[in-house]
Symmetry: D2
Subunit: 338 residues, 4 copies
């Protein structure tokens, strides 16, 4: 009897081969099948992984009873129908982000996975990086004090996506990181954006997420920036963080900085505000490849019944914000309540 988890990877575009490579490196896994509609993509896989079975028929993947888990790295629009089929056939499913193309679809998948008792996990890769894990640890320990805001900039030149706007493509990362770190869901969204090429969707967008207090989340995404910026600012009453993902090693800087207000209404203004400038700390980060950690986590969840860190619910939460942001953009910043 084969005691390895038998995985099928469906979709061999940009991201699929990374999945094949990472799952292949895991001891407890056998990449059994790779599926794609393009024969030449399958041939390339076959050359590098001679023992893998390749097919252009998705039905053969889900109907194969020896397959335990399906990894979907296909266009966003196909996530829902393919994942639904796979779950219904009793497979554990690992979907590239975003989980689905709409909130309704996401809700249905989450329900189905619960019903069938299958693992549904979304590939929000950044959550598994050493940087985000360190941020989570710092915030969870209360090192930042009361949280003031989360600000993320993710801009570069390209890569224009044919099927989704920059919101669904890039902001999916920031929203997933934000909700994971803050451990709260926003209550409203206001967003603006622009489309600069007639048959395209938005190539630049600004998304504000509001919470039920003064906490603010903001995301700036763009495919039209001359330079690549991957920077987050996260501030609290006790400490503030800059996370620059472009830095090769010093990605996370923790600033012992803040503002103290003395709330004495009769005192002179000058005496009331006081800036605290302390040391800066750059913690060492886990440097393992995030996708490797994530693939291992998916297998752990299958084998132990553990709930994935980026499970269906969290993926659904991201989709809810993205859908609201897209709606707000089409209404010039009109607030959308969640």
């Amino acid at each position: 009897m084969n005691d390895k988890v038998r995985v099928a990877v469906v979709g061999c575009g940009y991201w699929g081969p990374n999945m094949v490579r990472n799952f292949s490196e895991l001891d407890r896994v056998e990449v059994a099948v790779v599926c794609d509609l393009r024969q030449n993509r399958l041939e390339a896989i076959q050359r590098r992984y001679p023992s893998v079975f390749t097919t252009i028929e998705f039905a053969r993947v889900v109907e194969d009873p020896t397959i335990d888990a399906v990894v979907l790295t296909t266009p966003v629009a196909t996530h829902y129908p393919l994942a639904k089929q796979a779950i219904t056939c009793g497979k554990h499913v690992f979907v590239e982000k975003p989980l689905t193309a709409s909130l309704t679809e996401a809700e249905d998948l989450v329900k189905l996975a619960r019903l069938h008792g299958r693992v549904l996990m979304v590939d929000h890769t950044f959550l598994y990086t050493g940087a985000v894990q360190k941020l989570k640890e710092l915030i969870a320990r209360g090192e930042l004090g009361d949280l003031y805001y989360f600000d993320s900039v993710r801009v570069n030149l390209g890569i224009f996506q044919p099927d989704v706007s920059v919101v669904w493509d890039l902001a999916a990362h920031d929203i997933s990181i934000m909700t994971y770190l803050l451990d709260r869901n926003p209550v409203a969204v206001s967003a603006t954006g622009a489309t600069h090429f007639k048959w395209q969707t938005e190539d630049i967008a600004y998304i504000t997420t509001m919470f039920d207090d003064s906490l603010l989340g903001h995301v700036h995404v763009s495919w039209l920036s001359p330079v690549k910026i991957r920077q987050m600012l996260i501030a609290g009453s006790k400490r503030m963080i800059v996370y620059n993902d472009n830095e090769p090693s010093e990605k996370v800087k923790v600033y012992d900085r803040g503002v103290n207000f003395t709330d004495t209404s009769d005192a002179l203004y000058d005496l009331l505000v006081n800036y605290r400038i302390g040391d800066v700390h750059i913690p060492r980060l886990d440097t393992r490849e995030a996708l490797h950690v994530e693939c291992e986590h998916f297998i752990d969840c299958i084998l132990t019944g553990q709930r994935p860190l980026s499970d269906g619910e969290s993926g659904l939460g991201v989709v809810r914000v993205l859908e609201a942001a897209q709606h707000s953009i089409h209404n010039q910043g009109k607030v959308v309540y969640l």
Copy 2:
């Protein structure tokens, strides 16, 4: 007979002494009077500039027929009444930014200045920097092609202002630079922000300005950032610019970058998008102190009748956007038409 322009500087807080110093260095100017309500501030001026007359009475300034021009570096709320008095008394007026605390006030001042034939100029200092002058030159020459967006980030820790929000304080810079460079006024504004200290106004804000086409302007201002960022991205169809004001000398970088779309609806997607990555150019900038250039310009306008680059109208345009942004923030991003 004295053929020098006799200037009075009113307000000796942070910015006033810089005005005194810069006007003092001009050949054609005599800083005749300095006015402030705080006697100790006047004494400090007196020590450094023994020949200057100091007073705590604004009336003595405007009623002095030998005074040609009044420079106002007082709190924003006082700009309107003081400027109005000065103009009515026949003085040319140079006001610290923002021009006034409301659009109605700004409109009245502009009207008054026209009526009395006086120069009304706003101290939008950044317009007189070598960097912004170079940007203006590049954009005006059409080097960027069709403009896509203007994005500005101006954040740091402090300095909290007692009387105005971060929008009126910091964003005044970005909006003035934006409207000057683009040479267009936005038609609508959507903004969000937050207040983290109970008796304060907004300390963080995100402002989107919309134009009558796909051009987008965005400003992020904050007093609660662990690090100081002063960065603008300006992109067009032919070139893109990064202007980082924190750089000591290489502030403006011109990227020969862009995206080419081939609009052939039947072609495969992959063939349609093409990224152009060319050279980067860092132009040498004029390194003169901007405030010096600006003070000289004010005097030129007085003597020649020339219209100031940052005249009342442009200051009014800035106030219009700020007021709309503040209104939108209070309505969670609701679009405000201008």
Copy 3:
């Protein structure tokens, strides 16, 4: 008849697999044999390249008449005996840097290659990067004017080499780049360095190379730096260059800067010196993998008889400087004439 160049790669440590991969990707090449003393390394190659023949016997490589060229990625001490055998057996040889462990050995190899009419090429990979090619182009065109100096810093934490000092390991890169760019050989060397671990060789070194005029070359290499620095300054009378290899894309910056002296002995000093600060230009660079370009060049040289850009003579020139530097270090900076 097989019209492909049949290549054998000898040595499967860190660099060897890169050679196998790059030569495998070339159309005109067949990687026929891979040789290493460690069976497990060969097995790893076999798994990835099933069609390659592997062996632990170097004799089988050089005695195989179907092998056209031998690539040596073995420890430095073995370069000479292995290359000698290969050339004598009529093979073209491509050796990892540095060419040999001594000048005498290098001279012998160069002589042998000439005698047997074989290509002898050294893997000075950096010469084939887009950055160095752009520098070469700029310098060769005279864009820098008269050359003043070449200064290179190549420091990081590790990787300590068991068999050679930091001079032979890291400075080999800088000396090869320097002599290629300047197109001149130094006439003397003075170097200093230190050994901080008793059974090790030098882990930090400073090498000054002198030319027959005021041109100066300097190299700082270290395995004991907390941060990785890869920076060159190259200055001439007309322009100056900063080449920072750590930059992801803006590696080469060309500064239109210089000093003008007016040689009027009776003039006042202040009038004589004049600094020219002009624009900065960042040229777009070829982004192809340098090793790929280099492997292709080796094959071209074999097929066309063209002289390699990093041929035996140039490799010998590098070894001459390294040997002199090592000698000078042992004599506390004493000048060594070449």
Copy 4:
């Protein structure tokens, strides 16, 4: 009776006015006299400091019995004769760096100051910066472990000095910082350099200082660099430091990095070397103006008899290294023992 220390500042070039300003701001000091040969420089001082007495005669300064201390900011060649006169007349003396133009002169001044019981202090300003004070604290506490090396780069375009080489001008800073931080004097020097303009002295130099163990000090100074670099690397067995003086606030970074060797001669090489990569710490620094701190220290030393941190002996130590370096440069790197 006047209980303030009465100071005379001699030399009103670039640095003198800074001395006048800083001493003027001290409560316990009266800047009584300013002396320079150029009448226009004195007039400028007079305008800004009307109560200061100005003179072109140095004799009047030293012969004035009410003057307690003389500050010399004159060309290097004049330091010795002027300081000698001042000390002999019973004045405390504060000399701009370097102390003198030769070792013999320095020795004589130190002897004289001791004989007359006067304070002799050298203006090695950097020692009084928050950054160097923090480095001193860290090194003195043993936080770096055994010291491996001190490496300093101080390069920029200009300012060419008419009277001294780049060694005497710029390296004076680095050598003073090095000897202060390491608290040891080098035993030998090997240096190289070049002169690119015929009637000039060296404009670029590389100086290696050797100690009686494997500790190494190196200084690279240049007036011919396209960019300004002010960076020091200081490494020890436990921690390593990067001090970048160009950084506006994060100047000192402490790296918890090192190399561990297991000295088991029979083990395989791979097992012996182990790199330790820990956190990075950026300490908050004192941001007071260094010259202000230093001027205050000079006054303290006069009033309390305390020995200056940059006293005559330490200034002499710097001159000894500079003279040796200059000699070594003229002999192409020949080692000079101290």
